[in-house]
Structure formats: C-alpha cells, structure tokens
Symmetry: C3
Subunit: 202 residues, 3 copies
C-alpha cells in the first residue's frame, strides 16, 4: 500500500513540477529536472534521514522513465493546444501529492519505531521539501513558507491524526487511505475557500 501511495504521489508532484517549469519557460532539461526533483526530492531526503539504504527511484526505475517521458511530451502538448497555464493549476496535483506523501512518509517513520512527532516531521519533510527546492530553483521564495495558506500544517496534523487512529486499534489499511483522503479534502477546501494563516501586522 505504501508503495502504491508513493507511486501516485510521485506522479502528482511530477505534474505540479512540470506545470511550474512550463510557466517559467525552462528548457526541456529544466522541465524534466524540476519535475524529478519535485517528485523525488522530499522522499529522498526522508530516506536519507530515516537511514533507508535504497531510494524509491532506484527501486522503481520505470518511474524515472515515466517522468522523463511526461516531461518531454507534456510541454509539446501544451504548445499544440495553446493551453494557458494559470498559477493556480499547480495547486490541485500538489494537494493530492500532499495527502499521499504525508501519510506514506509518516507511516514509514512509525514503522521504524520513531515517535509520532518524528513521524509528523517526516510527513512535513516528505511533502514540503521537493516543492521548496522547485521554488528555489526558479528563484522564488518558496510557496511553502510564504503563501500564508495552510499546507504543511495539514501534513503535520494528518500524521498525528493517523497515529491517533492507529492507537485506537484501527487497521493501517483503513487508517492510511482515510487520513490521506481527509488531508486532500481539507486542502481542497483550503484552496477553494482561500483559507489563510494569520498574517503579520507589525
């Protein structure tokens, strides 16, 4: 199950990366690189921090091929159809990846015997890190720290929720997808209703 979530999360984040790279008019290599970093960056850092020996993208080479293919083809498609990419288009695949990676990252930490706080940190790292590098590479202040929208908060809270539900005896095969769905749903609501974190008024 965690593997399925990782695959879907990788594809969702890769889509978000391609959209961002296309908006910035990067070259073909830039599109593929940004897509790959967005998709694999968070999970790779998590694996380094958790001491996992083998990385996800080494075990699943077909995913690397998929991202190279999608990264080359999608821009051609956008171009042929004259599709205008809005700034908000990135948010939907990003929300799906958020739910999938938050739960898989947190569960991986719990399975290794880490505390729920560490699991929640891993959920945040897995979901946020790839996007942060993506934004840094296109020379913007990362959305994750600057857009005043709740995002990482859902990964953090979701991990605690999942841990709590599992403590109550709910089976992982129920708890993980339920939490992922809850995170995605709340994030969708946050996008639609433009929820904001409290702003600075100095």
């Amino acid at each position: 199950m965690l593997a399925v979530f990782e695959v879907l999360g990788v594809l969702a984040f890769a889509a978000a990366g391609i959209i961002e790279a296309a908006r910035k008019r990067l070259d073909v290599f830039g599109v593929v690189l940004i897509a790959a970093i967005t998709a694999f960056g968070g999970g790779t850092l998590r694996d380094v921090l958790l001491g996992n020996k083998t990385f996800f993208w080494v075990q699943h080479e077909e995913l690397v091929w998929a991202i190279i293919g999608i990264g080359v083809i999608t821009p051609l498609f956008f171009r042929a159809r004259h599709i205008e990419i809005t700034q908000r288009a990135i948010e939907w695949p990003d929300a799906i990846g958020l739910g999938l990676f938050a739960t898989s990252g947190a569960q991986m930490a719990l399975d290794k015997g880490f505390s729920p706080l560490m699991a929640a940190l891993m959920a945040v790292i897995t979901t946020v890190f790839g996007g942060i590098i993506r934004d840094v590479l296109v020379n913007e202040i990362p959305r994750a720290v600057n857009d005043h929208q709740p995002y990482a908060l859902f990964a953090f809270g979701g991990a605690w929720l999942m841990w709590g539900v599992e403590q109550l005896g709910v089976d992982q095969n129920v708890a993980i997808p339920a939490t992922a769905a809850a995170i995605i749903a709340v994030r969708f609501l946050a996008i639609v209703f433009k929820w904001k974190l409290p702003a600075w008024r100095l």
Copy 2:
C-alpha cells in the same frame, strides 16, 4: 559538554532564524520552518558527512517542540509590543551560535579521528550551512558569502586554535569553552567595529 553546546547553539540559531523570517513577514509555518532549518541544518549536514547514524534533533525531541513553541509565540510577542526588528538584530544570536557550533562541530570531527583540516571544515559547515539555506529560502544571496564580514573565518581559525591548544595538552573541558568564548568575543568585536574582508576592486 558537546551536548550542552549543541542545545545552546540550536537555540541561538533558532532565534536568528525567527528574526529573519519575521522580517520577511513569512507565515507561521514559514517562521517555524526557517527557525528549524537555521538551527538544525548545519548540524544535520555535518552528521550526514561524518556518518553519524542518529541526528541531534531525533535524540532531543524536546528541542523540536521548543522551536515550534518559540516560532509560534515570538511573532505574537513582537506584534503585541510593536517591536521593530532591525537587520542587525540577527547578528548577536548568530555570533553566539557561531562560537558554540564551531567548537562542537570541530571537536566531533577530531573525536572521530579526522584531521584538523577536516575538523575546521566541519566547523565551517556546521555554522554556515543553516544560515545559507535560511538566506536562500528568503531569496537573498547568503550573507555568509556576500557580506564581506569575517564570519566563517572565525569558525575555521577557531577550530585550528582549539586543535593546537589540545595538542599542547590542555584539557578538552577547558579548550572547548575557551575557544567558543574567544570566537564569540572576536565576532562581537567584528560586528561592533564593522571589520571588513578586503573588497574587490576590479
């Protein structure tokens, strides 16, 4: 002793991170994230490079809680008191963290049998890396490479000084705090008297 130095260094660097994030008006999550990266970034990279299996923030979970708490509360405090944050406010906690992390990072490398040059590099990496990511995340050229003030130089020189003093037979429990105090004192002097590295005149 190294553990005490790490704790104090983490708190000093976290304060520097919060000040920087508050100046940039980041959201609550941004403040906590920047504080955590500034505080733990350098030590984590050092641990990865030295091959340490467990990270400092995994062993000391209470520090993570402390930074989350401080990151949420401090901005409220600034706001209530209408405290204006100057650009130079960041420099004082940063100088304290510099002395603490330079000596603990260098000693850790020496204890592992690395050469004094590697110890000096680890001192630089531990002290500089967190601040560099902090500056990159808020989209500025890192102070560390660009402000023409001696900073990393003190970490580099301090590590050699500490190593030399220990070679002369001075006990570590004296050499480490003495070197840390010396680094902090010299850095304070550099701030007060605005010492500059030689500038370019092309």
Copy 3:
C-alpha cells in the same frame, strides 16, 4: 583512472566556481566556498546516493588545500592584471568538468551494479548539482535548467554511450577517456556554435 578524472574534474569545476564568484564580487570566503561547492557538491551528493562511505574530499585533503589556495590567490591575480571576466569565460572549464565527472560518475554507478539508467542519472547529478547550488547561492535561476543549451543532455547521453561501448567489449581504460573526450568535444561545439534546445512558443 577514475581518481585522476575526479581530481581534474574538481579543478575544472573549481575554476568555474571562482570565475562565477569573482563576477558577483563575493568576498574571499564566498569565493572559496562557491569554488568548493561547485567542485565537490555533485560528487558528494552522488556519494551519498550511491552509499559511498568516504567522500572524495575527505580522502584527498590536498585538493581542499588547493581550492583554498586557488580561491584566495586567483582574485588577487585578476585584480592585479585588471582582467575583465566575461560571462562566457565560465563555460570552458565547465565543459571539461562535464566530460570528466559524467564519465567517472557513471562508471562508479556501473561498477556498483546499477543499471545504465541509474548510471546516466548519476552522470547528470554529478555534473549538474554543484553548478546548480553555485547559481542558487548567487541568486540566479540555475543555468542548467534555464539556458536552453544542451549540457546535462551530453552527460546523460555520454553515460549511455560509454555503457554501450563497454557492452561491446571495449576496455574501460579506453571507453572512459574516449567518452570523456567526446562529451567535451561536443560541448565545445555547442558553445562555439550556440546550439539551442527547442524553445517554448506558447
């Protein structure tokens, strides 16, 4: 042989880093740091990802000294001679480093039993990562994703070429330098004739 290639690649990339840092008028520490990151960044990430226990710059301390020395002396030399540094000056040492690191990185992965795709990815990571951090640190969108010139493509293609030639039974001591020379030659052609990747026309 791989070690010789790494040494030469480190020196070539360090030269590119110094040129970039000098153009941006960074301070002495900034020049040395950028040179070191450009030179060692890609190889270090490769070693972390491949699970190598000892880093190249830990084994070859004299290289660290060399970069510190070159980083301090070169700017003085530029200054004394009033040499104007053009933006394109960086491209020649960069091309040499590209060929050397692409082949050594790919061969290292093949020697560890990784697939040719992973070897090609390692060639890209080794060659591109140091330069990406260098550009991020001086607050520019990395050349590697944005300049529309084929660069990483040559590392990727070169790794496949080298793998194919070795599959045909050619000795490594011939295949590696021949591939490196081919990559450097093609990259030189790309610079001279200003080859471009297809641009966006949305």
